[in-house]
Symmetry: D2
Amino acid sequence: MKTLNLGLIGAGYIGHSMALAYRAVGALFPDLPPIRLAMLADANDAVATKAAQRYGFAASTGDWRTLVGDDGVDIVAIATPNHLHHDMALAALAAGKHVHCEKPLALDMREARAMADAAARAGTRTIVGYNYLHNPMIRLARRMVARGEIGRVVHFRGFHEEDYMTDPALPFSWRCERKYAGAGALADLGSHIVSFADALAGPIAELAADVATVVAERPVPGGGMRKVENEDQGQFLARFASGATGAISASRVATGRKMGLAFELVGTEGAIAFDQERLNELRVYRAKDPSGARGFATILAGPEHPDYAAFCPAPGHQIGFTDLKTLEVAHFLGAIRDGRPAEPDFATALRYEAVIDAALRSAESRAWERVER
Amino acid sequence: MKTLNLGLIGAGYIGHSMALAYRAVGALFPDLPPIRLAMLADANDAVATKAAQRYGFAASTGDWRTLVGDDGVDIVAIATPNHLHHDMALAALAAGKHVHCEKPLALDMREARAMADAAARAGTRTIVGYNYLHNPMIRLARRMVARGEIGRVVHFRGFHEEDYMTDPALPFSWRCERKYAGAGALADLGSHIVSFADALAGPIAELAADVATVVAERPVPGGGMRKVENEDQGQFLARFASGATGAISASRVATGRKMGLAFELVGTEGAIAFDQERLNELRVYRAKDPSGARGFATILAGPEHPDYAAFCPAPGHQIGFTDLKTLEVAHFLGAIRDGRPAEPDFATALRYEAVIDAALRSAESRAWERVER
Amino acid sequence: MKTLNLGLIGAGYIGHSMALAYRAVGALFPDLPPIRLAMLADANDAVATKAAQRYGFAASTGDWRTLVGDDGVDIVAIATPNHLHHDMALAALAAGKHVHCEKPLALDMREARAMADAAARAGTRTIVGYNYLHNPMIRLARRMVARGEIGRVVHFRGFHEEDYMTDPALPFSWRCERKYAGAGALADLGSHIVSFADALAGPIAELAADVATVVAERPVPGGGMRKVENEDQGQFLARFASGATGAISASRVATGRKMGLAFELVGTEGAIAFDQERLNELRVYRAKDPSGARGFATILAGPEHPDYAAFCPAPGHQIGFTDLKTLEVAHFLGAIRDGRPAEPDFATALRYEAVIDAALRSAESRAWERVER
Amino acid sequence: MKTLNLGLIGAGYIGHSMALAYRAVGALFPDLPPIRLAMLADANDAVATKAAQRYGFAASTGDWRTLVGDDGVDIVAIATPNHLHHDMALAALAAGKHVHCEKPLALDMREARAMADAAARAGTRTIVGYNYLHNPMIRLARRMVARGEIGRVVHFRGFHEEDYMTDPALPFSWRCERKYAGAGALADLGSHIVSFADALAGPIAELAADVATVVAERPVPGGGMRKVENEDQGQFLARFASGATGAISASRVATGRKMGLAFELVGTEGAIAFDQERLNELRVYRAKDPSGARGFATILAGPEHPDYAAFCPAPGHQIGFTDLKTLEVAHFLGAIRDGRPAEPDFATALRYEAVIDAALRSAESRAWERVER
């Protein structure tokens, strides 16, 4: 198998996570194409140099265009703030690279559509960083749904709630600003729970939304207050294309919640529940179990579930956050190797973005809005 | 203290629960007015006779009007199907009785308003059977909110989900018919979670709703199928008068859920979570706890919480469903003794009904609707 | 059916619980013999009078011998401190009464044997207040074991831990004194978990124990400190007659535990777990469930489980502590009606006491000891 | 900082885990000495070659003595079956290497003592693979205990239970044979829970134990049955040097348990509970919290806890099994860098082995035995 050369843009939180994943994947999945850490870019040259050394990249640059233009690079991984995704992805696709872009895809639908279109034209592989989808427990849930084990899906209730901005003393940052972040909690967190909804109950057709900015203004470093431009929390009622109903919410001020990405999926013959704060567990109810013995069973991730065995041959030993990113990378490399679409690629992620876009429109119009790609 | 004579109408599920509660209350709360079980009415005369004997009522009747008209009766407790509440309550109030009415108050707003008006005129005490409000853990939650222990309330997410009608083979019953039940899951279950929302986050001002009938038709005993007339599940986005946001849902086809009456209440400095399936627990998060040691604490009901000690002097021993009904009765008797409104009386319950009414209107109009009493 | 006249001795915590149960049982179980509350005795005459009025007993007395000697009394219920059980039970049995005795049976094996012998001679019904055994979930567990649903039982790990004496400032009381309480945590709490072990894994044949008095002395009201005479915590390794192994512990200083009566029962083909702090749940694992879908299922108590339906026709609504006592009474009345032994009668409870006795001996001898009745 | 050259012996389950950890550590902890993957040894030469390629080792060998004798190797990591630890560790120490040995240290006390003595003489760093000790949540627990946050520790109840040998059809393997595995569940699993007990409650002074072989014989591949030579489950009562009491058990046939490494630690002013199946959670109770608001708080691992931030700056995102091994390696490298003992080094691990040894002696003698190093 041909070695694939990775160019990584961004040395922050997500860049760290991606670097760890690309470093680890080969030892875990020896049947995938080998990875060579070719180049790391960061807007800050010194940061790039230091990060490249830390992770073992062969080269570094302070200019992402150098990386994108480098013939030695096969995969461009984009781990930068949201407003940069569009230009970087377009340049990378134009240069014929496979593109691994952190979520959300883009600032708005215009950008997102352009990116999905460019990906379709380029013919290379793309993937967007909805890493929680690659959890063996989520894949188990999808398999159960696909096999009809919970009957027809009739309801999806889910949320992604964290409290990283509960404290009103936290300063104004790019996350509060529309031109750098786009939407607020809906884009940052809501898109994750939308990815689960889409994977488990199918596309959302229409919705009615409401948003609120709980902390209206935040202190600016250096003095003064500045108005927060996007929502702290958002929520919507959903109608899926299948006719199923849904209720979805997102919050970055959900005091007490650290990684509250959770759902309950109701079927006519069973139900599935999940909470990312216990990511190695899936709770499953089967209406057909014998009377007197029915109840939600807590299934622990184990080697009988997809990909778990790469980490450990024994059940219940737990995988973690960085492992999920590694599974995302593994999935991407498999798609590259096999010439099939990764999931979610730009086209699929566009579907998630369209839901967030419709939610923002609905919160404005105070009316039901159709999801339009 | 004057002994209060109870007249109970209805010998079904709720009648049983009320009878147990009125029988038990005196031994648990010796400071409340003593109760005499004066008369039990049921449409079926033989059933009434048998039930009166079982519970120890002094008399029975097959005609509820006899009971309501009896001078020896001080309290009329109404435990009949929803469509009968209105006429019975009006007659009882007109006869100068205190009225204990099972929830929901009535079939629709017109009836409910008439009942609240009649109660205001009668000047006797009324209470509606939102028994879960009397849980020591809910009262603890309310006290915490009132004391500002979780800061300003910004979000309420709650649901009441059961699966008693998941099975499509369950026959058509009065619960499926508008003229006997009014709304479906929203009226039967949604009103409970609305009572929690109201108690913890204040009145709901406006909402956007959606409903669905998952099992469109059900078998009629004797043959054939009949269209179900009300919703199996309903959900709405809420705006509270305080500005807080909310998301509330109800379902009678939530496969796997038996008594899923649960909420999370988010404040700016803490959060409270509750699930009726573990009714003796309240989960509380305080943002001001020391860093590194913050987390949701599971508080077990104990004698330091309101009214628990009546049942047991030791914490953690658990109260149950019938105890909650007894606490409702105790609260009612205290209100009668002290000449103060019980909670929720007809006026307060009207507020809950108005929310359900607005939800049904919104599901129809597909628009945000104001809650109007 | 003949009405049974109850004489209750003791108006404290347990007396309250028994009074509530005997008051409630008739309305819940109309097929059992009716109960008449005939007489209540308490060492304090005024207390007896007041309690009789509160619970509705026809008469009261300050002398329990009057109650035991009354021809109108059919059942003597003993709810007094441990050191009085022996004399009261013997007198009641000699007078031909059915005897409902609170646990533990007696202060020591000599007393307990005398009581069991007297019961055998009397030929009336006896029951000892191991109320937790009557939980529908425990009965479900027993049924599962009996049916072989978890295979052969190989291990029982259980404890009963509370923290009611954690605080070293709590004064010295009769519970700390051998002549009034007998053993400490092992007698008060350990006997409950032994009753579960016996019911689920059969009789314990031998054991090795250790005990500790964590708070060595306690303040005496009025001044000074006094040495605590019995154990705050005790634990033992067990060998069941079946060959299964066990580990059992009890503590009254288990900080944080309120009603920690919990076990895990391991079989060759499944496992069952229970915690009294969530008494409406049974957690069951079946090794034969399909691979990938195995996990502990949380079964919620419902009408399909023994006796639950008496309280509520809907599952998940929860029963509580006082309901368990009512179930104990119902079981006792059924045994009286049918002329069969109640469970646990004095003979069975003697088996539990023998385990506690062996544990105390082993803690002294520092050797394995056989359980000897 | 000098780069440290790693020689890894063993390419099985644990070798995999160690390889992943040594590969990952540098990117996560840039302040530690860099690691070069110098050589991998496996008894099977072809396996060694393939594994070396997979993980990126510079060289491989079929003879571990070649690795140990190589001047270019600084650290020898031993990931082989238990019976080989002794000879390999002694050879590595004699060659002046730092030694990372998988647990348990050795087959018996004679071997373990020889290894601890050799380590003391060698003056290089040693560590034994009790990876669960390096969990940020366990380190938090230790810190709480050290600071007196739960008062004086009075009881430790813990177990390590899995079900990997529940199935009687599983064939006889080296794990069932004394000369290759030493003890059974007590050595394999019990040593982990002993490491927790030692870290949290101090050294165990004496104990009384019991063991059982639940599946007495197992099929031999090729036909016939063979007697299992060591225990499937073991349990003991413990007395700590501090006077605290304990109850500890281990089982490899605990049906339903996958990674049931759990404990409750009781102090005079609080309690701490943990379960490895939810390794990112610590449950803490503080007796001094305000009345009415006390309860076990579930603390989620986050960047405010030791070392978590290396993986993720956001709380609640979860670390996994492989991350724990990486933390073990990081701790080891820090000890090498700083010239201080790692924990647990051979001397400390000897203390754990001595407990297991005493348990086996006690199970034989049926008497309390002192732990003797």
